[in-house]
């Protein structure tokens, strides 16, 4: 086993429903990841800056307020600005297939809808980060 995967889990915007974010954070930890949990009410600027300072492999955003078409692109743009374009941006919430496709096309990673299994989320991050790390000497 290599070094632990680091993931920032955040809830953006005003919405405070954190059940999903917490369940996912716990699943990632139980899968051996280091989870930096920022809590609720984060701005895209706070999320991107924290992701950079923490040198995370991935950022997972939970969004239930419907503001995802605003927040995901904004976080992605700020990550790029700060030199964090290699950080995987993923997440979940009540997001339609069309919106998911549009966000994916713009460079955001896979997104998970309601009822997604935490195993799938864990597996996705492990595979994705594993693939990215394979390209670099440890």
């Amino acid at each position: 086993m290599g070094r632990a995967i680091r993931v920032l889990v955040a809830k953006a915007g005003l919405d405070g429903h954190d059940r999903g974010a917490k369940v996912v954070a716990r699943a990632l930890r139980d899968a051996g990841m280091e989870v930096i949990y920022t809590g609720i009410r984060q701005t895209p600027e706070m999320i991107a800056e924290a992701a950079v300072q923490e040198d995370v492999d991935a950022v997972g955003l939970s969004l239930l307020s419907g503001a995802h078409m605003h927040i995901f692109p904004e976080v992605q743009r700020l990550l790029n600005d700060k030199g964090g374009d290699d950080i995987l941006l993923t997440g979940g919430g009540t997001i339609s297939d069309e919106d998911m496709a549009e966000l994916r096309a713009s460079g955001v990673g896979q997104l998970f809808g309601p009822g997604a299994s935490t195993r799938d989320i864990v597996e996705y991050i492990q595979t994705e980060i594993g693939g990215r790390r394979a390209g670099e000497p440890s």
Binding site: R26, A31, E34, E45, E49, V52, K82
Partner: protein, 318 residues
């Protein structure tokens, strides 16, 4: 990261790019030869900035206190680096690092750099990793360095190793004082803080702690007991004054040099131990199972097995 990448990152680091600092922290935290290269390059940049450790039982308000301290130093225009250490689960190897939550909007302050770290279960290795992460932040130009860690078991010793002054934080809640006295937290304290002084029982707790301190052998530095309400920023100026005083004491008494020398010695020892072990392991790993079998079968003891292995290793080294 390729070697050239590393060079590029170092270059970016020296021009003050935060992404580069974050990367170098990871390199150092992960250890190995590349960490050595980095530290080697950074050593000339170390400034000797004050290093403050904040430790104490879970939930006493350490992160809230760190947040208040950072704000205080920012008001005095000092760049601040924070390393917040949380335990890794021994079962899964994972961790939830949640200290940033209390430092919310400091994240976007360009004069502040906050990094969360998991203990990664490395016995003693934590002290080294923490110190070296702080080294990176110091070389990055942070003028005040703060390390937060939960004081359970071993980690407070590690934070003492990595810093110049240690603040032990307690709260008036259930049995913190007794726990601290039992757990050896008192031994590492240069300053004691009773936080959550807005809760009942703070005065009583201060008296208990002072009584306990009075019974300890006399030393040149007498550990002050302060009260704070971190969530309201009360008592922060006094705490900072006490930290300054402790630093003056360290400098004038020669303790600072002493501490740093001792720290260097521990560091060398740790590196040496690591190296020796790595080499020994590389050489002997294949042979250990066979010996284990013999020990398990009662044909050897662990000591005779180790002696033989060691002999083989030393012979090779010559």
């Amino acid at each position: 990261m390729l070697e050239t990448d590393l060079d590029r990152t170092l270059e970016a680091f020296f021009t003050g790019q935060r992404r580069a600092a974050a990367r170098l922290i990871s390199v150092v935290e992960n250890g190995g030869p590349r960490a050595e290269d980095v530290l080697h390059q950074l050593y000339p940049r170390l400034t000797g900035a004050p290093r403050l450790g904040i430790t104490g039982p879970p939930g006493v308000g350490k992160s809230t206190l760190v947040d208040a301290l950072v704000r205080y130093h920012r008001k005095h225009d000092r760049r601040v680096g924070v390393v917040a250490v949380d335990p890794t689960s021994p079962f899964t190897g994972g961790a939830v690092l949640g200290d940033r939550v209390r430092m919310g909007d400091l994240t976007t302050d360009p004069g502040v750099f906050i990094r969360s770290m998991a203990t990664r279960g490395s016995l003693g290795g934590l002290a080294r990793a923490t110190k070296e992460v702080v080294d990176v932040l110091e070389a990055f130009g942070q003028q005040m360095l703060i390390v937060e860690t939960v004081g359970v078991g071993q980690t407070e010793m590690d934070v003492a190793q990595a810093t110049d002054s240690v603040v032990v934080v307690l709260s008036p809640e259930s049995g913190d004082a007794i726990q601290a006295m039992k757990a050896g937290l008192m031994e590492v304290a240069d300053i004691l803080v009773v936080n959550k002084a807005d809760r009942p029982g703070a005065g009583q707790m201060v008296r208990t702690l002072e009584a306990d301190l009075a019974m300890r052998p006399h030393s040149e530095w007498s550990v002050p007991v302060l009260v704070t309400v971190a969530s309201k920023g009360e008592g922060i100026a006094e705490l900072c004054a006490a930290v300054d005083e402790h630093r003056v004491h360290l400098e004038q008494s020669g303790d600072l040099a002493d501490r740093r020398r001792r720290r260097a010695q521990t560091e060398i020892t740790a590196v040496l131990r690591d190296r020796l072990w790595q080499r020994a392991h590389a050489r002997l790993a294949d042979e250990i199972p066979a010996w284990a079998e013999r020990v398990a079968a009662g044909q050897e003891t662990p000591y005779t097995a180790a002696r033989s292995l060691m002999a083989a290793f030393l012979e090779d080294s010559e």
